[in-house]
């Protein structure tokens, strides 16, 4: 396509249904919030949200075998889109279930409608990032997700910690966005296109035969990885994480530890694997070093935390590290001065995707139990959960499941997630990285098991609890526990599925074809 011969064909709406449904959900919520009487708005809005996300989830089924692009290559409905959207929508449903009772409890002080609207827009942003075929779509998608999340972080605006966390998150977040945008500008300058497939074609051709790294390519990679490192909270760009996670309302923390992170990883996969895949021999070292730093620092600092939200914040940093190992294990083709013929590390991306799915169930679960405890007037420190097993045995058991799963003990999902990541690292000849994962998991055992030990073997000294009914929260905790117990058993199938789908991403290039083929060196 060039300027004179514009492609004026309209978008194929059939490909965009899941994303369109979430957008319609946001619009419906705006109007519903305005017109539904206040005393009924909580039930209605929660119901509309859940139904909307379920419909989108259903619509994914029709998207899953399309493998096509529309919006002139800006939107791709390929395997990666479907798998990431699946993860994001499942996380969104659990976020709504987790938030609902909290909001009702808190509802006279915070507006309920806007919460669901912002949540829907944020989910939509993440969905659009995971289906992006273009640098600009990735960027605006990430901004959509992040902007809504900043507001949600400071949602309880009379809580000084929430305001502090939101401000830090916001300032560092926009700073990171600027860095990311600068990196994208370099990537565009080097390849002459914003389309990821064109970038792949041009960068691959441009570096062919180069003996040593090209300063401009390295700069682009550095800026992109730093910018996205902020979004996924990788060390050393994690400074905002503990404060933002601690200050935000607990259900929002559950949400923001998963969906913006999924969006960040989606952007990383799209940019680095799909766009800059030919340079994988160069960027994977950056990712690998960051992954080791992230795992180690996250787990070591988590050891000393007594506030469970802060502890889970550092634990979520550590899990970012494990996921980055999957990305670092991706290898293909020729980098500078390398002559690898075939893609040898395809398992990396699918391991990362499976880890993300597992992470949704483990992490939202842990925060859901914290929400449950908070709803009963307790705090979130280790002292507040001491002896929980004697007063509330079922939540304590659920928390134990989530902790053990986060740690990575066999029949649970967390074990399989780590197993595939380690396997991917070993297949990519990065044994040291695999060893680092095992070491980091070993360190993490201490603080995860400490929570379990405190719940079961200490006596309870918390007296001022109140009894409330939290049906939706209970349902979400039960579903998450089941997910943790069962999904691990089907891990082989899920990983194969994600592998098939991501191979479709890297091997079969876009079918919107003409666009990609036409960029030539004049």
């Amino acid at each position: 396509m060039d300027l004179l011969n514009l492609d004026l064909s309209g978008p194929q709406w059939g490909l965009v249904w899941p994303q369109l449904i979430v957008f319609l959900l946001a619009v419906v919520l705006v109007f519903a919030d305005a017109f539904i009487p206040k005393h009924r708005s909580f039930e209605m809005l929660t119901g509309i949200s859940i139904v909307g996300y379920l419909l989108a989830l259903g619509a994914l089924y029709w998207q899953h075998d399309k493998h096509a692009a529309t919006f002139q290559g800006s939107f791709r409905a390929d395997g990666l889109t479907v798998f990431l959207s699946l993860i994001i929508l499942v996380a969104a449903i659990f976020s709504v279930l987790t938030s609902a009772n909290y909001l009702k409890d808190y509802g006279e002080r915070v507006p309920i409608g806007e919460y669901y609207i912002l949540l829907a827009f944020s989910v939509l942003g993440a969905l659009l990032v995971s289906s992006a075929g273009d640098l600009i779509t990735i960027f605006v998608g990430i901004e959509l997700t992040a902007l809504a999340t900043y507001v949600l972080t400071g949602y309880t605006k009379r809580n000084a910690q929430a305001v502090e966390g939101a401000l830090k998150y916001f300032l560092l977040g926009i700073f990171a966005s600027a860095i990311l945008l600068y990196g994208m500008a370099w990537a565009y300058g080097l390849s002459g296109s914003t389309g990821l497939d064109n970038i792949r074609a041009n960068v691959g051709a441009a570096v062919e035969g180069q003996e040593w790294f090209e300063a401009s390519v390295l700069l682009a990679l550095l800026l992109l990885i730093v910018g996205l490192g902020f979004k996924i909270a990788a060390v050393p760009f994690h400074m905002w994480t503990p404060d933002a996670y601690e200050g935000a309302p607990t259900p929002v923390t559950a949400y923001m530890s998963v969906i913006p992170k999924a969006a960040g990883f989606a952007a990383m996969i799209r940019l680095l694997v799909q766009g800059l895949g030919p340079l994988s021999e160069d960027w994977r070292w950056l990712i690998a070093v960051l992954a080791v730093l992230t795992m180690m620092l996250g787990n070591i600092v988590a050891l000393s935390q007594r506030n469970l939200k802060r502890m889970l914040a550092y634990s979520s940093i550590a899990h970012t590290g494990y996921m980055m190992v999957g990305l670092a294990a991706y290898r293909e083709g020729t980098g500078f001065g390398n002559d690898l013929e075939n893609i040898i590390g395809t398992r990396g991306v699918s391991a990362l995707l499976y880890y993300m799915l597992a992470y949704v169930f483990m992490n939202i679960g842990a925060f859901a139990v914290l929400t449950w405890i908070q709803a009963r007037g307790r705090g979130v420190t280790l002292d507040d959960v001491s002896g929980l097993a004697s007063t509330d045995p079922l939540p304590a058991a659920a928390m134990a499941v989530f902790m053990v799963s986060l740690m990575g003990i066999p029949p649970l999902i967390g074990f399989y997630a780590k197993y595939y990541v380690i396997l991917a690292a070993m297949e990519a000849d990065m044994l040291w990285l695999a060893i680092a994962v095992v070491l980091a998991s070993g360190i993490s055992a201490y603080f995860y098991l400490r929570v379990v030990a405190v719940m079961y073997f200490s006596s309870s000294d918390v007296t001022n609890t109140r009894s409330v009914r939290t049906p939706l929260l209970n349902a979400s905790i039960i579903l998450l526990v089941i997910g943790n117990l069962v999904l691990g058993l089907f891990s082989a199938g899920i990983v194969d599925l994600s592998e098939d789908w991501t191979n479709a991403l890297t091997v079969a290039q876009t079918t919107d074809g003409a666009d990609a083929a036409q960029v030539t060196n004049p």
Partner: protein, 240 residues
């Protein structure tokens, strides 16, 4: 040296200097004015690149709308009321400076050694001239190739408006306890502008750790600016 180059250096130098001034100034209003100068210079660079449309947009949107709004806000807020940001420790400053210089060097090397075989894409100056100028060219791609990002940006703006309203709107009427009264004003010393803890609720427990949310005016009675439909309230100590 052709005059175009001279003008470019002049505009470029002014842009860099005003950007430096923007960072270095202590008074936010001065910073804002330096930023306006910087934006005008960048518009000049756009003109020299043949991108008149971007230059005009730069002036109208950034210099005109964004910066004027920013100045309005700055003038409305009492400077003494702004919170003081924690200034960095010497070590942090050194590391920050070093990293900045390293990035600058890296950029210089990248620009200096760019040997990659360039692929300028399809939007060459000739192609732009063929459709009648860059305004037309931008219009052509904005509504075809970049339609999806263009639509998403409208959602980003919606979220921005919504977020600003959610964060700035006082809490629902009829909740006296939850109302924040001490926003701006009437010559109270710094530190009165605090966030009072919520009376009860799930997040209260979090606050117990840090109790610096104490009004500076504890011990004496302050009359604060309130909402127009409200009686003045006395603040000081705990509110019942």
């Amino acid at each position: 040296m052709p005059w175009e180059t001279l003008i470019f250096f002049l505009v470029g130098a002014l842009a860099i200097l005003s950007a430096l001034g923007m960072v270095a100034m202590n008074n936010p209003v001065h910073s804002a004015i330096f930023l306006v100068i910087c934006f005008v210079q960048i518009a000049g660079i756009f003109v020299m690149l043949g991108a008149e449309y971007l230059a005009v947009i730069q002036i109208i949107v950034y210099t005109g709308a964004v910066m004027v709004l920013l100045l309005f806000v700055l003038m409305l807020v009492d400077m003494d009321d702004l919170p003081e940001f924690h200034t960095a420790e010497p070590l942090t400053r050194v590391i920050g400076t070093l990293l900045g210089v390293m990035l600058l060097i890296e950029v210089a090397i990248a620009i200096g050694t760019r040997t990659i075989s360039g692929a300028p894409g399809t939007d060459t100056p000739e192609a732009v001239a063929l459709v009648g100028g860059n305004t037309q060219a931008i219009g052509r791609v904005l509504y075809t190739k970049y339609l999806l990002p263009f639509e998403i940006i409208s959602m980003v703006l919606t979220v921005g408006v919504l977020g600003a309203i959610v964060l700035a709107l006082p809490e629902r009427l009829g909740l006296e306890a939850g109302r924040r009264r001490d926003t701006i004003s009437l010559g109270h010393p710094r530190g009165t502008d605090t966030v009072l803890p919520i009376e009860s609720g799930a997040e209260t427990a979090n606050l117990s750790g840090r109790s610096n949310a104490q009004p500076a005016g504890v011990g004496r009675t302050l009359i604060m600016a309130t909402d127009p439909d409200d009686q003045p309230v006395k603040v000081g100590g705990r509110r019942s």
